[in-house]
């Protein structure tokens, strides 16, 4: 009940943020531009529209998560509203969870709006929508959940600018970490290889949520891949949230 109240309040606060609508506007513009971009190609135009659309959804979603998530806790501390909140019978963990859920609801609604625009553009062009697109969008949302938790974690102990840089780095590392696998294969056995292997397993692998290529080319995906990627996203988000709670518990507001 308390988490719900914080979440609802966070949601109400988030939807009043102008940056959200600015990003939504740019996302809509990029969807329309993808239609124009497809006119320049030779061959399959739908591929260009889907590629550009899915990437826009993902990029603008991540920007929304980072730009809003990094200020979630910091603003409360900076404006000293956190004192009023925590003096009520509400635990710090409930506060963090409420903040997280509030932003997730906002992102979910934004993703729905962006998806609606995206689907209208696809429908106007090709007349059909593949069910695989929904799967890909589901995983984009899962990625946004993880990024939100990371932004929230940094927001607990850092300024919004630094938190944004850290969260963006997390996103970039998450999409680069697969490169370590190639490095590991080329390394000779030893302690360095073991440490690299540990780093590779520990670092986020956001490519696990990237099914854009499979969707665009209608390639088969193993059901286990969906299942394990889904649980990977859930557990990683849970881990980061726990970390955020730990950090927030340690914070001294006096």
């Amino acid at each position: 009940m308390k988490i719900r109240a914080v979440a609802l309040n966070t949601f109400k606060e988030a939807i009043r943020d102008r940056i959200l609508y600015l990003l939504l506007f740019f996302a809509a513009v990029s969807f329309i531009l993808s239609r124009l971009l497809s006119l320049l190609t030779v061959g399959d135009k739908t591929k260009i529209i889907i590629d550009a659309g899915l990437s826009s959804l993902s990029i603008f979603g991540v920007l929304m998560a980072i730009l809003m998530g990094t200020g979630l806790v910091y603003k409360e501390i900076d404006k000293k509203t956190v004192y009023t909140l925590l003096s009520k019978p509400i635990s710090r963990n409930q506060f963090i969870l409420g903040k997280f859920l509030g932003l997730i609801i906002t992102l979910f609604i934004m993703l729905l709006v962006m998806t609606a625009i995206f689907f209208i553009i696809i429908l106007l062009h090709s007349g059909t929508i593949s069910w695989k697109l929904f799967v890909s969008l589901g995983f984009v949302f899962l990625e946004l959940c993880l990024i939100t938790s990371v932004a929230l974690l940094f927001s607990c102990f850092s300024t919004p600018i630094l938190s944004s840089i850290f969260s963006l780095s997390f996103y970039l590392i998450g999409h680069l970490s697969w490169g370590l696998e190639t490095l590991i294969k080329k390394m000779s056995p030893g302690i360095t290889k073991i440490l690299t292997q540990v780093a590779y397993t520990l670092l986020p692998d956001l490519e696990n949520f990237n099914f854009k290529t499979e969707v665009v080319h209608n390639l088969p995906i193993q059901p286990e891949m969906f299942l394990f990627s889904f649980f990977y996203g859930i557990t990683y988000t849970f881990f980061i949230l726990m970390l955020a709670m730990l950090v927030f518990r340690k914070r001294d507001f006096i």
Binding site: L40, G43, K47, S55, Y171, L172, E207, K212, T213
Partner: protein, 278 residues
Amino acid sequence: MQKKVLALLLIISCGMFMGLKVITDKIPRKIIPGASIIYIPSGKYLKFASFGHSSLLADLIYIWAIQYFSNYSVPERFQYLSHVFSIISELDPEYLDPYQVGALIAIYDARDFDTAIDILELGLKKNPEQWIFPWQAGHYAQILLKDFELAKKYYQTAMEIEGSPPIIKRLYSNAIYELGDYHTAWKNWLEIYNNSDDERVKKIASNHLYRTKAAMDIQKITGALKEYQNKFNRLPEKLADLVASRFLDSVPQDLDGQDYVYDSDTGEIETAVIPWKR
């Protein structure tokens, strides 16, 4: 008052920068067309830099490549043709259009058959289930190079891929015919004729069978004519003379049971009808 001055300044400054833009656009600048292409790194590095959006990056490079390779002001633009399409392939290996368009540019614009084959080979390597690439390679080898041996090789590769259309077997059989292996060509065309339920395909196969049999018969008659000429120092008046002189067991007839047309002055033999007009 201050508000009005601000609005006025806003309009003036807007008009000024728009005017300046028009002026700067008219000033000719020294540019090196296509100079930017040398900065394109390999696909492997670009895949890292795409941060999970490699498919979109492949689209953008492909669209850029179409515009770049159709820019006639860059004479040496085809120098990096293979490199550009290998980058797209690295970023999105399943994207089929670039392989086909790349090969098309290489063949018809760059007149570089080897690059076209390289691009199509790359397409096949990344998508072994796609018959379209060996089929296209075979088609280019047959139509442009008249290299039927190479065409036969690619048609055979395409034929062996599941889901390839029956026309590839017909092209393969035709390449064998062009190579002069009439017996194998006959066997193949007969198989196509017997196994097809489509009347149109049967008619095509029948015409090819007619042509192949005629080629075999004409080859046989020509050999006999040479022997006849060597012995009698002249050409026979009619083909039946070859049988009388025991150079042939019998005078062959075409698939429809008609006699071949023989010109005793030149020794040329033709079918009574054009195979495609039977």
